[in-house]
């Protein structure tokens, strides 16, 4: 909380620019993600979603503009100091980015091992995380022996093992069949509703966003249930709501909730509805 009593954003980008030799990719992007909120970042391929997430984790520095995470000006800090901030951020990479010479268990345990926790502590937590993503059987396998969807789930287990308050998901359902995509979205949902994580999720499927906006995980029943139809009620459920942000040609083209997207009738936004 800052002095005015307003909630400080968990992630904020202010007029961020980034580009390569071939040209600019982002030209002045600003947005905020508030604590416990889910922000769905939509954009066609190559619009800079991955770059945005990498900047939010401090893996890339913007050419201009400022990125703040949990109040820290991450875009201006030296790498050594960013390392500590990153421990509060879980990152699910687009391609999984699992350590391919380590087993699934070692991958998931990586962050705990970094903290030199004893094996008796690590072992049950790894099992718990793998049970959460329903991959307990694969514990001793190597990433190369897993399917794409399984790898994505291991990657989620690895990101959540330390219960980070912020999780960045880079196209978690890209290239997966509808059933597996649904499983992954369910995972993200329950992670959000059980632990109250702030999520920034890049995707090019609008239905992923709608699923996150319209369902919630009910711990009493132990499964995903629809949210109340009354739009005002959504926010109270888990503190944050679900918002959408659409990139187009290096700028924020649209920002708002699902009702605004559906009502807009904008031909560009409709392209994501398929």
């Amino acid at each position: 909380m800052n002095l005015s009593g307003a909630v400080e954003p968990a992630i904020s980008l202010e007029d961020v620019h980034i580009g390569f030799e071939e040209g600019d990719v982002l030209r002045g992007v600003s947005f905020e993600v508030y604590p416990r909120e889910t922000l769905i970042l939509l954009g066609e391929t190559g619009t800079g979603k991955t770059l945005t997430l990498k900047m939010a984790a401090g893996l890339l520095k913007p050419a201009a503009g400022r990125v703040r995470v949990l109040g820290e000006p991450i875009s201006e800090m030296p790498e050594k100091e960013i390392l500590d901030v990153r421990r509060k951020i879980g990152f699910v990479f687009q391609e999984g980015a699992l350590f391919d010479s380590m087993t699934v268990a070692e991958n998931v345990a990586y962050r705990l091992q970094e903290d030199h926790l004893p094996d008796e502590v690590i072992e049950p937590r790894v099992r718990e995380a793998l049970r959460f993503v329903e991959l307990e059987d694969a514990i001793d396998r190597l990433p190369s022996e897993l399917s794409g969807g399984m790898r994505r789930r291991v990657s989620i287990a690895r990101a959540l093992i330390d219960r980070p308050p912020i999780v960045l998901y880079d196209s978690p359902t890209a290239g997966l069949d509808p059933v597996t995509s649904q499983t992954i979205i369910t995972l993200i949902l329950s992670l959000r509703d059980l632990y109250g994580v702030t999520s920034l999720l890049a995707t090019h499927r609008l239905q992923d966003g709608f699923a996150l906006a319209n369902f919630r995980f009910n711990p009493e029943v132990g499964r995903v249930v629809p949210l109340a139809a009354n739009p005002g009620e959504e926010r109270s459920e888990n503190g944050g709501g679900t918002r959408f942000l659409v990139y187009r040609e290096g700028k924020v083209y649209f920002e708002g909730d699902q009702h605004q997207i559906l009502k807009s009738g904008d031909p560009y936004l409709n392209r994501f509805l398929i």
Partner: protein
Amino acid sequence: MADTPYQVTGRQVRTEEPPSVSRVLGDGLKRSIAHVQDYSLLCLESVTNILTGPRYLQDLLAQMDAIGVGSLSIVLLAGFFIGAVMVMHTGSQFSRFGQTALTGDIVAVALVRELGPTISGLLVAGRCASGIASELGSMLVTEQVDAMRAMGTDPSRKLVTPRVVATLLMLPLLTAMADFIGLVGGSVVSVFTLRLDAYQFWSRAIAALDFADIMQGMSKAVFFGFILSTVGCYQGLNVRGGTQGVGRATTQAVVVSSVLILASDVFLTRLALYLSGKFF
């Protein structure tokens, strides 16, 4: 930017005018200077990381095993043959003056001062600088290095320092073994072809060596180990362009580290001769 050598640099301005000769040369020069700067930084960090935590002892041991034990057989084989060939060449020259007994002296000095460290350095460069570059390069292109950074690990501590330190520790040991096996090879050949007494060969060889020779050989080994491991890491962590880039980096790592080893050998030898005249 300087503290994160492995990240893609975002560049905002785009220049459209056609390239001029001076621009191309200037860009090339700037790029080489940037390379030298990044490489020096990596070298510096690889050493300063030792002073503060976190340290990765487990990785260090694994690397010592991979680099030291893994290279043992080729270094020993090469040492044996080099020693044998040396005796053949020098023996045939010395026999013209009836001085074959001097073979032990010459072979010992040449091996310990020069051939032991250089051959071991080149062989380990071929085996490990390439291995390091391809391993780190593959990790970089599959985003595993980014994943590491995303989980709060400093890749220069986790990946670079264990490899550099392991090579620094193992190459002198490998060199010592190569020297010894080289003398064994030499003595075998001298017994069979020069009809020298093995005892005579060994006693002359040992008498010919003094502390300065051993110091010279070992410090070269440390130096070469530093060169080949840092070049391997640098090439691996600066891969551009996918799998093909990894291949290029691997070749580049061997070529660059071999050339640097041979070139620095000249200067190190000169320095060693100067110092041994002064101190030993």
